[in-house]
């Protein structure tokens, strides 16, 4: 299958100022994301995961190596706007990415910038709002919405640009549990129904248990690239990277350690309950 995103031997440094050593934020990272996949990028603070997001959107450019978005190199100045249209980006703070004073006008902001003809705009906006389940809020003002709702509007704003891929940089970090669930359900649905490629960057492991693929970052290096099931049971390995495995995995791990035989790759509470019920006393 075609690669939506391809990162090839990318290194990146942040300037820290006069006389100080520049910090290597990314150190020779390579990975691919296939079209239609739902992938997670996870790592503790300062692991370089947010840097990747900004590289994917041509906000930063790699020091060495290449970032390709459906075959287009971000270094190529001509491609920047096409890349930003194809790979939409959602940021952490729901408040600071809303531009307009009315919800529907905010959703229209992206396509307006692309110069979508007036006749098509209304349709795009309505469709995007329906997709995130916020159509009835179209005339509301941003400050009348909850954090989760604002974040869904931000997603609608990206959808209205008809992207092939959505990159979300810790979209749930500032939300309450209800808002987190709303946002996660929305992006999962997008991935299933519209076959949009999703790159979810987060530090919550339980948000990415049903991803197609996950990438674990640590100190600017890619530590793991594979299925979530295979890595989540390696509790020791994860803890070394200062990551906390999902609750269910932790329980099954501790149970195994204290001599109760149970499958070690359970990821969700439901799976865990199922397994525990099958235990013979």
């Amino acid at each position: 299958m075609e690669n939506m995103i391809s990162i090839q031997n990318v290194s990146f440094k942040y300037r820290t100022g006069e006389g100080m050593e520049d910090v290597l934020a990314l150190d020779n990272v390579s990975f691919d994301v296939k079209k239609g996949d739902f992938v997670g990028i996870i790592g503790h603070n300062g692991s370089g995961k947010s840097t990747i997001a900004k590289l994917l959107n041509a906000i930063y450019f790699p020091l060495s190596g290449d970032v390709l978005i459906s075959g287009m190199n971000t270094k190529d100045e001509e491609n920047i706007w096409k890349i930003r249209q194809k790979a939409g980006m959602i940021f952490q703070n729901p408040d600071n990415q809303m531009v307009a004073t009315i919800v529907e006008e905010d959703v229209a902001f992206g396509p307006e910038n692309l110069g979508v003809p007036h006749a098509d705009l209304r349709g795009r906006v309505d469709e995007a709002l329906n997709m995130v389940g916020m159509y009835e809020y179209k005339d509301k003002k941003p400050h009348e919405l909850s954090g989760g709702q604002k974040q869904r509007i931000a997603i609608a704003g990206i959808l209205a640009m008809e992207p092939e891929c959505i990159i979300l940089d810790e979209p749930t970090a500032m939300l309450d549990p209800k808002g987190r669930v709303e946002v996660l359900n929305t992006i999962k649905r997008l991935n299933k129904e519209k076959n949009t490629t999703v790159v979810l960057i987060t530090h919550y492991m339980d948000e990415i248990v049903d991803c197609d693929n996950i990438f674990i970052m640590n100190n600017g290096k890619l530590e793991y690239d594979g299925k979530p099931k295979d890595v989540f049971k390696q509790v020791e390995f994860l803890r070394k990277l200062r990551l906390e495995p999902p609750f269910a995995t932790r329980v099954s791990y501790e149970m195994n350690k204290s001599g109760i035989n149970i499958k070690d790759d359970v990821l969700t509470i439901d799976e865990l309950a199922e397994e525990i019920c099958q235990l013979k006393v």
Binding site: M89, N93, D95, Q97, V99, P111, N113, K141, P142
Partner: protein, 271 residues
Amino acid sequence: MLNDITIGQYYPTGSPIHKMDPRTKLMMTFLYVILLFFANNVYSFVFMFLLLSVAIKVSKVPLSYILRGIKTIVFIIMFTVVLNMFMTPGDNVLCQWGIFKLTTEGIYNAVKMAIRIVLLVCGTSLMTLVTSPISLTDGMENLMGKVPILKNYAHELAMMMSIALRFIPTLMEETNRIINAQKSRGADFESGNLIRRAKALIPVLVPLFLSAFQRAEDLALAMEARCYRGGENRTRLKELKYTYLDRYGYMISFFMIAGVVTLNVFGVYLL
């Protein structure tokens, strides 16, 4: 303490004036203000007064809202009246103190100025009461785009205004939060003289400004990520459209001009 601040002073009633295109309303207000300064006799002033009264009646905005604007400028009106009364040169001196002369011309001028200012303030506040800040911004962008010198800045200015409107409630919320946080740690905002109270505001303003800058940076990044490249080649979800109401609006404008000119000329004979 900050929740009661409303943005602009829009008072929606759904009247025909509310439904008019913002451009029409801006143009009519502009014309009204100019004509106020052309009006030179009792008849044309009565005409201007009647025009505004009818507009207020049609708009269904309560009179108290319109008069609220005058309260804030009572001082300016008084100052202008006094200045006009005593500083207008004239022959018909009623009484005199040094260089200050009270003349009939002065009184006449003072009354004229007072009426002008009152009508001007009422007229312009009526416009802001019947037009939402967003459509006002849209209207201004559109009209400025037609003026050669302002053309290049029209989009940027309108974008700045609408972002300001967007963030006023957000920053107000934040101010409240900071004030509460400082209060919970024993900060005192309510007692002491003016200087002390002003000083107490510093620990509120510093974090507020800091976060406003952070927000600005985030917003700029988010706007670029959504392909914002300035006003060129942008399309609009809501395009301004003239309706039959605006046709009436422009007809009334001509009626306004004709009325003032006629009354100015023939008023002399009527007197």
